[in-house]
């Protein structure tokens, strides 16, 4: 999987890294059981601080996307049990996105069509990841 970090973006590096890994798992580019680079390897490759990567891995672990094995490092291991807890987060993030889309003139049908397309694509990849 290829992770792209924008060093000029206003989004913090750790947020970008976390989002990219989640997207990678969602798209199936990172399969269940696949190893992520160690904290040091990731930090060296990105040219960022070890503590930043450590923080990202801790967040991903708490969110149930990876597991950290002391011997083998970080392993992709998405868990499904947090679906209900995500609803609140989803509605908060979607509310802003829907507000922006409607203000810009996007129709309800177009919005749902895009949502459906992305959801189907991600779900297929996610199901493959669990196989």
């Amino acid at each position: 999987m290829f992770i792209e970090l924008n060093t000029a973006s206003s989004i913090p590096i750790y947020t970008q890294l976390r989002n990219q890994i989640v997207l990678g798992i969602g798209r199936g580019e990172l399969k269940t059981g696949e190893h992520l680079p160690t904290v040091r390897q990731m930090a060296e490759a990105a040219g960022i601080n070890v503590m930043t990567v450590n923080k990202v891995y801790a967040i991903l672990r708490a969110e149930g996307f990876i597991e950290i094995d002391r011997r083998h490092g970080a392993v992709v291991c998405p868990r499904k049990e947090n679906a209900e807890a995500l609803q609140e987060k989803c509605s908060a993030q979607l509310e802003l996105l829907i507000a922006e889309s409607s203000l810009k003139g996007m129709s309800r049908e177009s919005f749902f069509a895009i949502c459906g397309e992305i959801f189907d694509r991600q779900q297929t990849a996610a199901e493959n990841a669990f196989l």
């Binding site: 992770i3 060093t7 930090a43 060296e44 990105a46 040219g47 960022i48």
Partner: protein, 480 residues
């Protein structure tokens, strides 16, 4: 003369290394022009060609000025305390101006690229290939392979050290033994830096990225390991041959060597320096060929070539854990240390420590360069000396005072020798270990033989030497 030849060789070698290292500026690795990634369709644009032409003119001016100023330093060969800081300053300034040329024109090309929108993708992007990062240090030959070579050199240094007491050749070669040991240490550190460097993402194909990184790390680490062994073998060869010179009883100093042996010494130096350069060039050529082959097949497969990272190359890589990296140069041959802000505290500390070392050595040697040999006789005791070195003896102990038109051959045991003065304990042909206080520019010398020591002295001019001789003869005859 020997000092001038050594200086000439050093200056020409350093100049040549800079020319090769900063040479070209043309297309490299199939994508860099002046170190900036530029798609091939824009490389023939008028503005691009103008920048390239201006860069070449500036580089040729810098090389020309560097060579002339470097060679003019030879005029200072009589004054080592001035020559040494000037040589280091020349080295630093030449390095700075070569670097400045590259950066100035690369920035101009990058600005043009941004203005014209010739960007292949987004700027300010750092790409991580997770599969490649997981591979870690694979590909590079372990720097531990260099340890046997280092052991061989250290063995030679120890052998040289234990023989130094009984052999003038070994004593002379002992300080020179530090050069191969330090060279090998530097090769070890560069190899270690390269092995630990984060892998580079060239394209959207992970296997191709792994192949490219493997080729770069393997070829460079093999080249450095070979150079390390070459240094060790050549140094042993030099020591073993020099041992033979002493056994034949012909050695009193390097200036005393036959043309055959001097040629051999020169050959070893050329093989050592030139061989290393040749191995580096061969490694560079091989990497270039392999890279082009892999990148062509990647392009044919439809994978995307990443051409970003120009801003990180111009300004140093982003800070943090990966702040200091050994990376391939985008212009010229070899590796470079990419560091944000010119290396930060470490870089500044190295510059300050080097400056302190150079100024310290210069201040220490300055009194010797401007020394005056003094000879006085008071209350029947003669004192001879220069700077902080001196010797005194009773005139009644003198057995013979001889005037000689020509200085005999001699080599330093301890003390100071330069193009201007010989001061300290020297091994003089047919006289053995003697006390020497001589101005080298003056051929006439006075030999004073006492019961304990033989002392050699002269003045800066023939008149002063005659004055010394007359005073000594007068005082000696009075005592007799």
């Amino acid at each position: 003369m020997a000092i001038i030849l050594i200086m000439l060789f050093t200056i020409l070698f350093m100049w040549g290394a800079f020319v090769i290292s900063y040479g070209g500026g043309g297309v490299q690795n199939g994508k860099y022009l002046l170190g900036i990634t530029l798609p091939s369709e824009y490389r023939k644009e008028k503005e691009v060609l103008e920048i390239l032409s201006s860069y070449r003119k500036a580089v040729h001016r810098t090389w020309g000025f560097g060579l002339i100023s470097g060679l003019s330093l030879l005029l200072l060969s009589d004054y080592f305390s001035i020559l040494f800081p000037c040589l280091m300053l020349w080295f630093g300034l030449f390095l700075y101006f070569c670097d400045e040329n590259v950066l100035r024109y690369a920035r101009r090309l990058y600005d043009l690229k941004c203005k014209k929108g010739w960007l292949a993708g987004d700027t300010h992007i750092v790409r991580i290939d997770t599969a490649l990062s997981c591979v870690g240090k694979k590909g590079a030959l372990s720097p531990l392979w260099m340890l046997p070579a280092w052991g061989i050199t250290l063995g030679a240094v120890v052998w040289c050290f234990f023989r130094a007491g009984e052999s003038a050749v070994m004593k002379t070669l002992l300080p020179a033994a530090l050069a191969p040991a330090v060279t090998q240490l530097l090769l070890f550190l560069i190899s270690l830096g390269l092995r630990n460097a984060a892998p580079q993402v060239f394209c959207s194909s992970s296997p191709a990225n792994q192949k490219l990184n493997n080729v770069i790390k393997r070829q460079w680490s093999m080249a450095f390991t070979f150079c390390s062994y070459e240094t060790a073998v050549l140094f042993w060869l030099l020591l073993w041959s020099a041992k033979g010179w002493e056994i034949s009883g012909e050695f009193t100093g390097f200036g005393d060597l036959t043309y055959g042996r001097l040629s051999f010494l020169f050959l070893v130096l050329v093989l050592g320096a030139g061989g290393t350069l040749l191995v580096i060039l061969l490694a560079f050529h091989k990497i270039k060929m392999e890279k082009e082959k892999i990148l062509q097949s990647v392009e044919a497969e439809g994978a995307q070539l990443y051409s970003d990272g120009d801003e990180y190359w111009l300004n140093g890589v982003p800070g943090g854990a990966g702040g200091l990296k050994v990376t391939e140069k985008r212009i010229g041959v070899g590796l470079t240390l990419s560091a944000p802000g010119g290396g930060g505290t470490l870089g500044k500390a190295v510059i300050v420590l080097t400056a302190v070392f150079v100024i310290g050595i210069s201040l220490f040697l300055a009194p010797f360069d401007f020394a005056r040999v003094s000879l006085t006789v008071e209350d029947g005791r003669c004192r001879v000396g220069a700077v902080s070195m001196g010797y005194s003896f009773e005139m009644k102990d003198v057995r013979r005072i001889t005037w000689m038109e020509e200085r005999p051959k001699m080599s330093k045991i301890s003390g100071y020798d330069s193009n201007r003065f010989y001061l300290g304990d020297f091994r003089v042909k047919d006289y053995g270990k003697c006390k020497v206080y001589l101005s080298v520019k003056q051929n006439a010398v006075i030999c004073i033989e006492t019961e304990e020591k033989t002392i050699w002295v002269n003045g800066e001019s023939l008149e002063q030497t005659k004055d010394f001789y007359e005073m000594l003869m007068r005082e000696w005859e009075n005592k007799m």
